[in-house]
């Protein structure tokens, strides 16, 4: 395909500017997102609660009754996760009267703003969707998703004339720019479908609720607000009657949801959580969401009257409308919650490959501005190199540090949630400072070695804190623990390889670059 030279020039400029602005945030989102693929495993790993017997439905009933009795906010709206394979304990969540989400289990009936055993998974997820910035972080990541989409379109257009011919070309040699360009292109093209999907679903997840107030008057004639609940939830919105009434027991709801699913031809409906409106009121409505295998958008839900059990609405696989099918597919595609563990590991690799894409983009930016005949490089190259090392390798150190803190904090009598956050953001800030002060060629390999060490400390800290050393967990067949430790060891090995490659490049590569060791003073 022929492109006008002008289009090519403009798109190249747009691609590199968008990459410059959004690349750092995208690196963090992809690295943290890859680890977030293990968000079901992380709470188990954090608490080592592998031997815990799952609570019974009677325990869940007790939690439900306690929540309704204790918390005013929970009487308006209460979420409750059934005890099961995912979490041995039943958990509850509600919006308190100040508008803050609270979480409880039978051990923490008063509620806390962070789910107690999954603080580590929450932190990594927070970095993924908001960089850890409260409130505006999510909107910022929404804008970053849009810029990412723009970078994908412009990137493909620039590369289009050579896309097929150069697909499997990876040309190492003296021309480093071409090598990085080849690597950047092949990863970008081969994972393009996933990238397109992440850009679109990421923007939807971050921005949909921000844009609704804007779209409402603009294109929906002010009638959008009234239409949203029916499009997104299963249960109809009802008003409380003010009359108290005895609700059916939780066990009966559980059975009822399975029976309704079976009537709709779904044999393996496994209730995961429920949402209860106006608990204890005569108009109480319960919505039960459950998982079904062999479906994209594995979650389906049924809503019924919590007092009489009369069915109010059904959104199950094969029996749901376009809104719910699209919504569930959006979630499932973004979170990789379909298929089996192969999909989970595939998403993990796609996440790391994406992180590499943005890192190599920054390297290309520096390489294409390199002064080929001078040791001293331009200011912009040096700043970019420092920022890339400090932010990107810094966040790798930071996340690993939070894992180590999660294991060691309870041993030292510290609050785990606070310790993880201090370790994470503290380590990140120190890495950025280190990268700002040292020559980039030195900082990159020092921080990579640091990342390798801290990441390797993850299975050690877990062994020390819980006694579940990797081999012990493997022999006992606790694959969830093995998975997290193995992921850490694999990442540490990757950091070692990168550190060695950086050291080699600094010693033996072209000296006219920010990545070469400064020559000894003469």
């Amino acid at each position: 395909m022929k492109l006008r030279a002008e289009t090519l020039r403009v798109y190249t400029a747009v691609h590199s500017w968008v990459g410059l602005v959004a690349g750092f945030a995208l690196f963090v989102a992809f690295y943290a997102g890859a680890i977030t693929m293990f968000h079901h495993e992380l709470p188990v790993w954090q608490s080592s609660a592998v031997d815990a017997q799952p609570e019974s439905i009677a325990d869940a009933q007790r939690l439900l009754d306690e929540m309704l009795a204790r918390h005013e906010g929970a009487r308006t709206h209460l979420g409750l996760g059934f005890p099961g394979a995912e979490s041995a304990q039943a958990s509850a969540w509600w919006l308190d009267t100040q508008g803050v989400w609270q979480f409880s289990t039978l051990d923490t009936l008063q509620g806390s703003p962070v789910p107690p055993t999954s603080s580590l998974a929450e932190l990594v997820n927070l970095l993924h969707y908001s960089l850890g910035i409260p409130m505006v972080g999510t909107w910022l990541m929404g804008v970053v998703s849009l810029l990412y989409g723009l970078a994908l379109v412009t990137g493909v257009v620039i590369h289009l004339p050579k896309l097929a011919k150069d697909l499997f070309a990876l040309r190492p040699g003296r021309n480093l720019k071409r090598f990085w360009q080849d690597a950047h292109n092949v990863i970008g093209v081969l994972s393009l479908p996933a990238h397109v999907m992440f850009a679109v679903t990421g923007a939807v997840l971050c921005l949909a609720f921000v844009l609704i107030p804007l779209l409402n008057p603009l294109v929906y004639d002010g009638k959008l607000m009234a239409a949203v609940p029916a499009a997104m939830d299963t249960a109809p919105v009802v008003a409380a009657s003010g009359e108290p009434a005895a609700m059916q027991p939780l066990a009966q709801w559980h059975e009822r949801s399975v029976a309704i699913a079976r009537e709709h031809g779904i044999e393996d409906f496994e209730p995961a959580y429920l949402k209860l409106q106006h608990g204890g009121d005569a108009n109480a409505v319960v919505e039960i969401t459950g998982e079904t295998s062999r479906a994209l958008g594995a979650l389906g839900s049924v809503a019924f009257d919590a007092v009489s059990g009369e069915v109010l609405a059904v959104q199950l696989q094969g029996a749901r409308d376009a809104n719910h099918a699209t919504l569930q597919a959006t979630y499932a595609l973004h979170f990789g919650e379909f298929g089996n563990h192969v999909v989970q590991w595939l998403y993990f690799l796609l996440g790391l490959a994406g992180a590499f894409l943005f890192y190599s983009g920054n390297l290309l930016w520096i390489e294409s501005r390199r002064k080929r005949r001078a040791i001293e490089q331009g200011r912009s190259s040096r700043v970019m190199a420092r920022a890339t090392v400090g932010v990107c390798i810094g966040v790798c150190v930071a996340i690993s540090a939070s894992f180590v803190a999660a294991q060691l904090a309870p041993m030292l009598g510290l609050d785990s949630t606070a310790a993880e956050r201090w370790a994470c953001f503290g380590a990140w800030a120190l890495c950025a400072l280190w990268a700002a002060l040292r020559a980039p060629s030195r900082a990159v390999r020092e921080l990579l070695w640091l990342a390798a060490l801290v990441t390797l400390a993850i299975p050690l800290a877990h062994g020390i804190a819980s006694g579940w050393w990797l081999w012990k967990a493997a022999v006992a067949g606790h694959w969830v623990l093995v998975t997290v430790d193995a992921m850490a060891i694999a990442l540490a090995a990757g950091f070692v390889a990168l550190a060695r490659a950086s050291a080699r490049r600094a010693r033996e590569g072209d000296p006219n670059s920010v990545w070469a060791d400064p020559l000894p003073a003469r």
Binding site: T7, V10, A13, L146, G149, L150, A199
Partner: protein, 87 residues
């Protein structure tokens, strides 16, 4: 560059939103039935228009074409809503 970038980001958003609204209203069945698919389609449309905006020769041209299309599309949507021709 900034003229074309803002044309894609701002006028492009209005055009994408108006297109989603118009297609949703003309689609068989109530417009509420395609809300979420419309919301998902909005983002690739917006990104596509923003990318296309850079193909115009100048910011002024980009604003004229994209802004003009947005006004026409939005006008058609509002006309349908006001007259109730399509429920």
């Amino acid at each position: 560059m900034w003229g074309r970038a803002t044309a894609g980001a701002l006028a492009g958003f209005v055009l994408a939103a108006a297109l989603v609204g118009l297609v949703g209203r003309l689609w068989p069945g109530p417009w509420q039935a395609t809300l979420v698919p419309g919301m998902v389609a909005l983002f690739p449309l917006w990104i596509g228009i923003a990318a296309a905006a850079f193909r115009f020769g100048s910011g002024l041209r980009a604003w004229a074409w994209i802004g003009g299309s947005a006004v026409v599309t939005l006008g058609a949507l509002w006309l349908l809503q006001a007259t109730g021709w399509v429920a």
